[in-house]
């Protein structure tokens, strides 16, 4: 039981990761797939943030009177990763817009019927 | 809203978030504000709705009254939640807008929504469709206390001088 509690942050990450992954795989609607993808990515962001935690360290925002900070590097990295994620989402959504125009639907099973997909 | 006002508001916003007064950071702020204003300028041409929002400092005269309204109606709705919500008889009503100048309608509709118990559903040139938890709330609105408060906030356009 203590094992479960000690690593609670990982369980959260794993839960989100699986939820996102499941959504990506199972969703029929492309927008939902993108949502799943975002959840999936976000779980990783959380993984990074939680591992930057230093015990007794506070948020790495410079302030007077604070001496113990958490590791700021993961935060910096994840800022970059978030930008990458947003860019991916943007490209994904714009693709969905074009798919909607070309096929008239964003439901995967519907446009699969329209093409002899390979 | 005038672009100059936007510059002031955005600069204040930047300072609010940053809090630093170093020249480099301030110049970054200036650049950002400039960029945003440029975007707004473009948008204002596209989006006419922006012109319908009028903002004056005299709004602060109205806020205490609104706060009081919110307080009282919150108590009322809370009572409803804890007492017997199943017996509610919500009503739909149309509130006339003829006394409210165009640029204050947003404020009016928002105020209606902000006060618990009433909710503006739809708005057009002549009236607001309001959803109310109780018929009494609609009557209250029709009595026009809020209407008068808002209408009297600042002079209508053209009457300014």
């Amino acid at each position: 039981m203590s094992y479960v509690l000690d690593y609670y942050n990982y369980w959260v990450v794993v839960f989100l990761m699986m939820a996102g992954f499941y959504t990506v795989i199972s969703a029929n609607n492309l927008v939902k797939k993108i949502v799943g993808l975002n959840i999936f990515q976000t779980s990783v962001f959380m993984l990074y943030i939680t591992m930057g935690k230093v015990s007794d360290g506070t948020a790495p925002i410079l302030a007077e009177g604070v001496t113990q900070y958490s590791n700021p590097l993961p935060h910096v990295l994840i800022l970059t990763a978030i930008v990458v994620g947003v860019a991916t989402t943007a490209v994904g959504l714009s693709l969905i817009v074009r798919i909607k125009r070309a096929y008239g639907t964003v439901e995967e099973n519907e446009f699969e019927n329209k093409d002899d997909a390979i | 809203m005038h672009l100059g006002l936007w510059v002031v508001v955005l600069s204040l916003f930047w300072l609010l978030l940053s809090g630093y007064m170093q020249p480099m950071l301030l110049s970054f702020g200036a650049i950002s504000v400039l960029l945003v204003v440029l975007v707004i300028k473009r948008m204002a041409n596209v989006d006419q709705e922006l012109k319908q929002v009028d903002f004056r400092l005299s709004i602060f005269r109205y806020l205490p009254w609104l706060l009081k309204e919110i307080m009282s109606s919150s108590f009322h709705v809370t009572k409803l939640i804890w007492s017997s919500p199943k017996d509610l008889s919500p009503t739909l009503a149309k509130i006339s807008l003829k006394n409210i100048p165009k640029e204050k309608r947003v404020l009016y509709a928002n105020s209606i929504t902000l006060t618990p118990g009433t909710l503006s559903l739809d708005i057009n040139k002549h009236e607001i469709t309001v959803h109310a938890l109780e018929a009494a709330s609609v009557d209250e609105l029709n009595e026009g206390a809020m209407e008068r408060k808002i209408a009297g906030l600042w002079p209508k356009k053209g009457e300014e001088k």
Partner: protein, 118 residues
Amino acid sequence: MLVLDIVSSILLMTGIFFGFSGAVGLFRFPDFFTRVHAASITDSIAVILIIAGLLLQTSFDLNTAKLMFILMFLMITSPTASHALAKSARHGGLLTLGESKQQQKQQKEQMQQQEAGQ
């Protein structure tokens, strides 16, 4: 200081009470439109009270301004969001409680008429 803390605590607690009431209202109210009213309690009075409670915790500085900004921002945006949501629901064809009761009544009458006709 102590007085300020006590007042602040009372404000916070009262805010929480309203917020909690609103959340309960989400479950107890009979239809979507009435539930929007319940939610708007948490968006208005609860927010005002909690922010006010926090304001008492600050000396007059940048944080005060930030809190004021948050309050102002929420005051403007949450009714806008509620309105937009209700409007969407309306356009989506969702009926209010009164309307749906009326509809049910009509259906019942139609059924009775049909039975009578037979």
